[in-house]
């Protein structure tokens, strides 16, 4: 039997106390429209919760949205937790209020990509498509 094409699964979450979810919801919809299965885990997630969800859901990607300024603590915490759970094959990307200097530091520390305010949604989708070509959908 032919192997069914399996959509790429992305866990999308807000870590930390910040509740501004406009961006993450808009991105979730755009990813769905691009053919991805998006598991939205909501607000106030801890790094442990996000990684645990990604493992249960067998997701390939974790997307985080942070507007509170706590990104330099929270992104690395998620990367650490992935290491601890031996799941470093799951890639991490994110968005929010993140200054350019911090982006460089985050990328050195295991975050694959950061999308700053004003990034067209298509850019995020293109990046995912290029990262996961075998799952090319419409």
């Amino acid at each position: 039997m032919a192997t069914a094409v399996r959509p790429v699964r992305i866990v999308v979450a807000k870590v930390g106390l910040d509740g501004h979810d406009r961006g993450v919801k808009v991105v979730a919809r755009a990813l769905r429209d691009a053919g991805y299965e998006v598991i939205y885990t909501g607000l106030r997630q801890t790094p442990e919760m996000v990684v645990d969800a990604a493992l249960q859901e067998d997701a390939q990607v974790i997307g985080l949205s942070i507007h509170s300024g706590a990104h330099m603590t929270l992104f690395p915490a998620v990367v650490e937790e992935l290491k601890r759970r031996k799941a470093t094959d799951i890639i991490v990307f994110g968005g929010g209020i993140i200054p350019d200097d911090d982006i460089a530091a985050l990328k050195k520390n295991g975050v694959e990509e950061i999308f700053t305010p004003g990034t067209p949604l298509q850019e995020i989708v293109d990046w995912l498509r290029q990262r996961f070509p075998e799952s090319a959908t419409k």
Binding site: G16, L17, D18, G19, H20, D21, R22, K25, V26, A28, R29, A30, Y40, G42, L43, T46, S68, G69, A70, M72, T73, L74, A77, I97, P99, D100, D101, T116, P117, G118, P120, L121, Q122
Partner: protein
């Protein structure tokens, strides 16, 4: 040549239709989707009796003298890192002409957590000032006479606690509560709808709000007990019409709750205040503000039977739209903010906050914060717009738009009523869905270039110059943790525990909680301890997420 007498309107119509039309981005509708016609004429003026400022329904303003009597308050929202640093920034802004204080708290404080709680890791002092106990509040207002200024505090779920801290600091300064003036945001409904900084479930949250309104009506009569907010709803992606409708609906829900408590409408209505966004779609915003006054006045007088004029007058604070700021070519944000501030002023706002240009990236630097304030001063003193009351009154466009806003708001009120009211609507995700849909639509308009944002989807530059931004010292978190430990060490532990126990008992009953919270605050219980005590009784709330 034969000269025909032509109907001038028809003539214009024909000439317009045969003229070439610009191809690049004409906004043919407002962000709310209301069509923007090429021309409005007297035929578009709504048929109504001439309106005057200071007269019901206050479309043209709540004061007969407008800004001639008193300028809007220049109230810049501010706060970061420690109470000490924020205290310095306040003194700096007051010295530079700011006329009222506005406190921004950090995420842990907004969420009722102490700075040393595990969930506060990485979050202390980043988006506002960290306040853990009365000790921090004392530092925050050190050297600032609370009897002489007004202060706005932007906090919601723990609002009652912060208000009690303010009252306690004033007490220490020898200022009685009855003299205190200011505003508490305290608008929990919009948290459930948009900003999501809720802790307790809706029912106990509403109880706390009503407790604070009831308490202030007696003890702190000059205090604006609530700032019913549309800003956050708008920033979450709603249209202007939705912002207007949802905010006023929330207002009515609070009025209903207070009436249910047994208060009389005229005892509290005049201390309800509002908070709107000033977005970049210029004329729509002005119409929104005017419609807000008209609608609220009607509802207060006709539906709720308020007798006193001051109960009918909608007063509001405005903040320019954070969501309109761009990270690209950020200096342009100064211009955006100026246009938005102008809309707020032409709409008759009572007080105004203008964003700093660097706020997409971080909290503002001193320089950017000062420029934002100067923008308001420019409007007030150089442009002449404050010299005439409601200068756009009578404009065909603005009057037509004001009416349209009113119509759309009323249509939403009906829908909310059909669902059973604001809280049932929140629980089925009605507002959240409207907002998420509008946000997504807007994003698509941007991506398809049907709407332009300069520097983002058009007129971009390749080489963005980095600008200097504010950094929060990471040592702050451990320093703040030490401060809390010190407070806990030095306080009278028995007095503190007793106060918290009494609060817990009262929370399980029906007493007004304000006096109990005040006692706990005076005993130097931390914010986290007070919130935790109430969580033990009220529980916490998980939202129905609507994407």
């Amino acid at each position: 040549m034969k000269v025909r007498a032509r109907d001038p309107k028809q003539a214009w119509q024909e000439e317009f239709e045969s003229s070439p039309v610009r191809e690049d981005g004409i906004e043919t509708s407002t962000i709310s989707g209301i069509p923007l016609e090429p021309l409005y004429t007297s035929a578009d003026l709504p048929r109504r009796a001439e309106e005057y400022p200071g007269q019901f329904p206050y479309t043209r303003g709540i004061h007969p003298s407008g800004y001639r009597g008193r300028l809007w308050t220049m109230r810049q929202f501010s706060g970061f890192a420690t109470a000490e640093e924020t205290n310095r920034r306040y003194k700096y802004l007051l010295a530079n002409g700011q006329t009222g204080l506005s406190v921004a708290f950090d995420m842990p404080t907004l969420m009722g957590q102490d700075s040393d709680a595990p969930t506060s890791r990485g979050e202390v002092g980043h988006c506002g000032v960290a306040i853990d106990s009365l000790a921090d509040m004392e530092t925050l207002f050190e050297g600032i006479p609370l009897g002489d200024i007004t202060t706005s505090m932007t906090i919601n779920s723990p609002a009652a606690i912060l208000l009690c801290m303010y009252i306690a600091v004033a007490e220490e300064q020898g200022v009685p509560a009855s003299k205190l003036g200011g505003t508490l945001q305290n608008d929990i409904l919009k948290e459930f709808i948009a900003q999501k900084e809720f802790i307790f479930p809706p029912a106990p949250s509403m109880r706390l709000v009503v407790d604070s309104i009831e308490y202030c009506a007696r003890e702190v009569p000059k205090w604006n007990t609530i700032s019913i907010s549309g800003y956050h709803i708008r920033e979450a992606g709603s249209t202007a019409a939705q912002e207007l409708a949802f905010t006023l609906a929330d207002g009515m829900a609070y009025v209903d709750a207070c009436l249910e408590r047994g208060m009389h409408i005229d005892d509290f209505a005049s201390r309800l205040s509002f908070f709107f966004d000033a977005h970049i779609d210029f004329f729509e915003e002005i119409a929104k503000f005017r419609a807000a006054r008209r609608i609220w006045a009607r509802w207060m007088r006709e539906r709720y039977g308020a007798q006193q004029e001051r109960s009918w007058k909608l007063r509001f604070h405005t903040q320019t739209a954070g969501v309109s700021l761009t990270a690209q070519q950020p200096e342009l944000n100064i211009a955006r903010t100026a246009v938005e501030a102008l809309a707020a002023v032409l709409g008759g706002t009572q007080s105004l906050h203008t964003n700093a240009m660097d706020e997409v990236l971080a909290l503002p630097t001193d320089k950017a914060a000062r420029l934002a304030l100067r923008t308001q001063q420019l409007l007030a003193y150089e442009t002449g717009v404050a010299s005439t009351i409601d200068p756009l009154g009578g404009s065909y466009l603005v009057e037509a738009l004001t009416d349209e806003m009113e119509r759309q708001a009323e249509a939403y009120f009906k829908r909310i009523e059909e669902i059973g009211g604001v809280i049932p609507a929140i629980e089925v995700g009605f507002f959240q869905k409207e907002i998420a849909d509008a946000a997504f639509r807007y994003q698509q308009e941007l991506e398809q270039k049907r709407r332009i944002v300069v520097g983002v989807n058009d007129f971009t530059v390749e080489d963005e110059q980095a600008i200097e931004i504010l950094r929060i010292d990471p040592r702050l978190e451990s320093e703040q943790a030490e401060r809390i430990s010190e407070v806990r060490r030095k306080r009278d532990q028995a007095r503190c525990s007793n106060a918290l126990n009494r609060l817990r008992k009262a929370a399980a009953g029906t007493d007004n909680l304000m006096p109990y919270i005040l006692d706990a605050v005076r005993a130097y219980a931390t914010e986290g301890e007070i919130m935790h005590t109430m969580v033990e009784v009220f529980g916490t709330y998980t939202e129905t997420a609507v994407v």
